[in-house]
């Protein structure tokens, strides 16, 4: 359900861009999805196809640019990779972590005709 709302958000941005930049058909969409964004990529692909049907992006190819999760460990005072939002520091095992990257969910660019 969550990915369905997000796919609808993607379509809104596409339709806004279509009005402003006057294109009639979208053939590919690039989304940047961070590892810590809470977006399930497989669910997003499924919902994307369903939501784009009968729109100007009907049948468009979906390309996902995955960005890794990173966090700041307050114990180590350094930036470390994170696999989960509540993950521990891979260096010291502390949970005192602030997420610093990988929460992106953005429409990057479109291929239009």
């Amino acid at each position: 359900m969550h990915e369905m709302s997000l796919a609808e958000g993607v379509l809104q941005l596409i339709e806004d861009a279509a009005r402003q930049q006057e294109f009639a058909k979208v053939t590919a969409v690039w989304l940047e999805i961070g590892a810590l964004s809470g977006v399930e990529v497989e669910a997003m692909k499924f919902c994307f196809d369903a939501v784009m049907r009968d729109s100007i992006a009907d049948g468009a190819r979906l390309e996902i640019l995955a960005t890794p999760g990173t966090g700041w460990c307050m114990q180590c005072s350094m930036s470390v990779p994170m696999k989960e939002v509540f993950g521990e520091c891979p260096q010291c095992g502390s949970y005192q972590m602030q997420v610093t990257g990988g929460t992106e969910m953005r429409v990057k660019e479109l291929e239009v005709a």
Binding site: F86, Y95, L110, E111
Partner: protein
């Protein structure tokens, strides 16, 4: 679907009425038309057919268009608008989130009762169907409006903006938004609130914060509700707090029981404190 806000046309209802919209659609062939939905009125379409694009689909030259926009940017823009409107009138807004059955509505009713007119409260209720919750709130004497999201699993800032228009929110009052019972989707949708407050009842598992980390990360305060039942349960309060802090190191926690009133003074004091902070910042 409405291209302005993304809501499924005819599904979202505010106190039983369709959310009123001007829609603009762009069809697969590039033609556009706009029309307005007026509750109860016939569905009139005004089409202005622009000359169709002369290229057959797929034959035109392809080009790239940079978008670089957050998927939630539309919702966030509506949320910013709501936040500005609320701040301008000194209205302190909380977004109450939890799984279904955590006791949000009972907690709200008790909160309104204990505030006893010292602070005027208005409530926006979100549920997929029925206006049962808004009716329960109105029985306390506080004005309430019900948003039915239809198939939707969360409230968004656009729906809340419409609901705010229908309510006469007094200046310097408290606005409580009870979100759809769901620990997943409402985490991502900013409504324009000052804080999200997550309610975890002790009849749930203490590991909910790590099972649904996004929600506990988005919240400023966790209310642990139904604490009067602790003697009959194996729920470990300390473990629940530890799990919540693992996901969100700065989350505050208050143990309450809406039924017995335990901890409610602390909750009311938290509201007063945070409202004062928010109003000073505005």
């Amino acid at each position: 679907m409405c291209t302005t806000c993304g809501c499924g046309a005819g599904e979202v209802k505010i106190d039983g009425d369709d959310a009123h919209h001007e829609h603009e659609h762009v069809h697969a062939d590039g033609t556009r038309h706009s029309h307005e939905h007026v509750p109860g009125a016939a569905h009139e379409h005004r089409h202005s057919y622009a000359p169709a694009h002369s290229h057959a689909p797929g034959l035109g030259a392809k080009r790239m268009v940079q978008i670089e926009q957050d998927i939630l940017s539309k919702n966030n823009a509506y949320a910013t608008q709501n936040r500005q409107r609320l701040a301008a009138r000194g209205i302190f807004t909380l977004n109450l989130v939890s799984s279904p059955g955590s006791g949000k509505t009972t907690l709200l009713c008790k909160t309104i009762e204990l505030l006893g007119g010292r602070q005027s409260v208005t409530v926006i209720e979100g549920d997929q169907q029925t206006s049962q919750d808004a009716e329960r709130i109105r029985a306390t004497g506080a004005p309430a409006i019900q948003i039915n999201t239809g198939k939707g699993c969360h409230l968004d800032a656009h729906m809340v903006g419409h609901a705010m228009e229908k309510l006469e929110l007094p200046a310097d009052s408290l606005l409580m938004i009870e979100n759809v019972g769901n620990l997943v989707c409402p985490a991502a949708f900013d409504l324009g609130e000052a804080h999200k407050v997550v309610i975890l009842s002790v009849t749930e598992g203490e590991d909910k914060p790590i099972k649904y980390p996004d929600m506990f990360r988005a919240a400023t305060l966790m209310l642990m509700n139904k604490c009067d039942l602790l003697p009959y349960l194996s729920f470990k309060v300390d473990a629940a707090i530890e799990f919540a802090r693992r996901v969100n190191p700065t989350i505050e926690v208050i143990e309450v029981s809406a039924t017995t009133g335990q901890g409610m003074d602390d909750w009311l004091a938290w509201i007063d404190r945070q409202a004062a902070v928010a109003r000073r910042a505005a």
